[in-house]
């Protein structure tokens, strides 16, 4: 059987940053397994700019951002296998994978880093009534067709969901000569960045209809029209508000789901809110030596934060291997809880001895909050109270815990993150 110190599942932004960081932490035998025919993951099709402001202090396009990390992987001579599908990861960290050249093969891994990313919520998960003709794509599929393969999915477009990929595709299809008629969003607010609403919709006069959803799809062979309607506060369409749009393409941009089939079959404990693994301060899952980072852990809005998180996972996986792959899962430490407005936190526990001087705890809020506070409680004592002019579900928030502060509170049981009006 092949043996590696660290096997990384996925060669996208998370996998690349994890690999580079693990190598810099001193681990020699690292292998990246990637199912696509090139490294870089989804960034290769995200040809728009705006990536890397935090990491490189400049605005890069997706392919450029990916290449900054690919270059480091090449320089460090980190091994990778493309066109390779991982079939299974055993709790003992034996990775079973296959590709055309090697057939089926197994690798004994000192540590495994899960970096499989996420995928889009498909039509089947959305309960849209109507026919099932061709011409309905997830926004990311359309993005791949246009930017990588060079095909236009259609000429007259309706978009459901105002996530960033949907907004970006509204502009992209418009630039390539399509007519984007409307973007309908079920929620009363957009999940996309303001900058994308202005520069992808307003710039081209594309209307955004909040609190609207698709109520009918017409077309037997190919899509011919879509009807949207306003939804009330109960989430149900309001009769009489229907508007019909003739179109040949419907794009769906209705959220992303971490891709955790492998993690689940390995037996990793999952967080029902994020749909990603539950992890400790080292980004280690419930299975010792199996780490997770990037969108497979929780969906991020900025790739910069994926890279940061993945670097931490790489560093910790490296430390786990150096430490003789010791199982320390019973030393969980302090629980971190999200309540009252905060939906989840990553990580879910922190062991003070294993954390660095600072620990970034990332979370999302469940609704739009204006002039509110992010509060952190050590048991019943409020230790942080940070004023925020605005928080929205579409923007990830964070608090930074200091090791010294945690050490001062000996016997601390629970850290609570919540949103308070005052």
């Amino acid at each position: 059987m092949l043996k590696y110190d660290i096997v990384i599942i996925g060669g996208g932004p998370a996998g690349l940053a994890a690999a580079v960081s693990a190598r810099k932490s001193g681990t020699e035998k690292i292998l990246i397994l990637e199912r696509d025919h090139e490294l870089g993951g989804i960034l290769n099709q995200c040809i728009h700019n705006g990536f890397g402001l935090h990491t490189f202090k400049e605005e890069l396009t997706g392919p450029e951002y990916a290449y900054r990390f690919m270059e480091q992987v090449f320089e460090e001579k980190i091994e990778y296998k493309l066109n390779t599908m991982v079939m299974d990861i055993s709790p003992e960290r034996v990775v079973t994978a296959m590709n055309r050249e090697d057939g089926m093969f197994q690798i004994e891994a000192g540590a495994v880093i899960l970096a499989m990313g996420c995928r889009e919520r498909p039509r089947g998960a959305l309960n849209i009534p109507g026919y099932r003709p061709s011409g309905i794509f997830s926004a990311g599929t359309a993005q791949r067709l246009v930017n990588i393969e060079g095909y236009m999915p259609g000429r007259e477009v309706v978009i459901l969901g105002s996530g960033d990929i949907g907004l970006i595709m509204a502009r992209r299809m418009t630039l390539e000569g399509a007519k984007v008629k409307v973007v309908a969003e079920l929620m009363p607010y957009s999940g996309g960045l303001k900058r994308n609403i202005v520069q992808c919709l307003d710039d081209f006069g594309i209307p955004l209809k909040l609190s609207h959803t698709v109520v009918d799809i017409e077309g037997k062979e190919h899509l011919s029209a879509v009807t949207i309607a306003e939804v009330g506060s109960d989430g149900k369409p309001i009769p009489g508000t229907e508007e019909r749009y003739t179109c040949d393409t419907l794009l769906l941009s209705c959220g992303l789901i971490p891709e955790n089939e492998l993690s689940r079959s390995t037996g990793v404990e999952m967080n029902p809110v994020t749909n990603g693994p539950i992890v400790n301060e080292s980004l280690e899952t419930s299975i010792p030596g199996v780490f997770a980072c990037g969108n497979v852990l929780h969906v991020h809005d900025l790739v910069d934060f994926v890279s940061q998180e993945a670097a931490l996972a790489g560093e910790n996986a490296s430390a786990f291997v150096k430490n003789g792959c010791k199982d320390i899962s019973d030393e969980k430490g302090i629980e971190i809880k999200a309540v009252e407005g905060a939906r989840y936190t990553v990580p879910s526990t922190v062991n003070t001895e294993r954390m660095g001087d600072l620990l970034t705890v990332r979370f999302r809020v469940g609704a739009v909050f204006q002039d509110s506070y992010v509060s952190v409680y050590f048991d019943d004592e409020r230790v942080m109270h940070i004023k925020k002019k605005i928080m929205a579900p579409g923007e990830m928030e964070q608090v930074i815990l200091k090791k010294s502060a945690l050490e001062e509170h000996a016997g601390l049981k629970t850290i609570t993150v919540k949103i308070e009006k005052e």
Partner: protein
């Protein structure tokens, strides 16, 4: 006197900003809740610019499309002229990140450059 309505892109607040203009000169900026909004609004009404990103057909490479961008921002009202020039380009592999694909696109003085590497096959 002309008024323009804008949505600020500085943060998730998305303040609705009203700018009053007189003969192209900004007279007042209202509705913003911080300095970022003021700066954005003044630039957006007097000299709005954008980076344009797209793809072009490439011959002889290991991929059918090459992703490109304008090396700097270009005037917003030139977006479709820039797209026309980008669509007319037809480079051949190999291409490296930063290679100039279109010079002085649509007379803007800005070059269109490659944003990925494509090897020749």
């Amino acid at each position: 006197m002309e008024t323009r309505e804008l949505t600020c892109i500085g943060c998730p607040m998305g303040c609705q900003i009203t700018v009053e203009l007189d003969g192209g000169e900004v007279k007042s900026v209202k509705g913003n809740t911080c300095q970022k909004g003021d700066v954005y609004a003044r630039k957006e009404v007097t000299n709005p610019t954008r980076i344009v990103t797209s793809t072009v057909v490439i011959s002889g490479g290991d991929k059918p499309r090459l992703s490109v961008k304008t090396a700097n921002d270009i005037p917003k009202d030139k977006i479709f002229d820039v797209m026309k020039d980008i669509d007319a380009a037809h480079p051949s592999a190999p291409v490296k990140i930063g290679d100039v694909i279109v010079e002085n696109v649509a007379g803007t003085g800005v070059n269109v450059i490659a944003t990925r590497n494509i090897s020749a096959v």
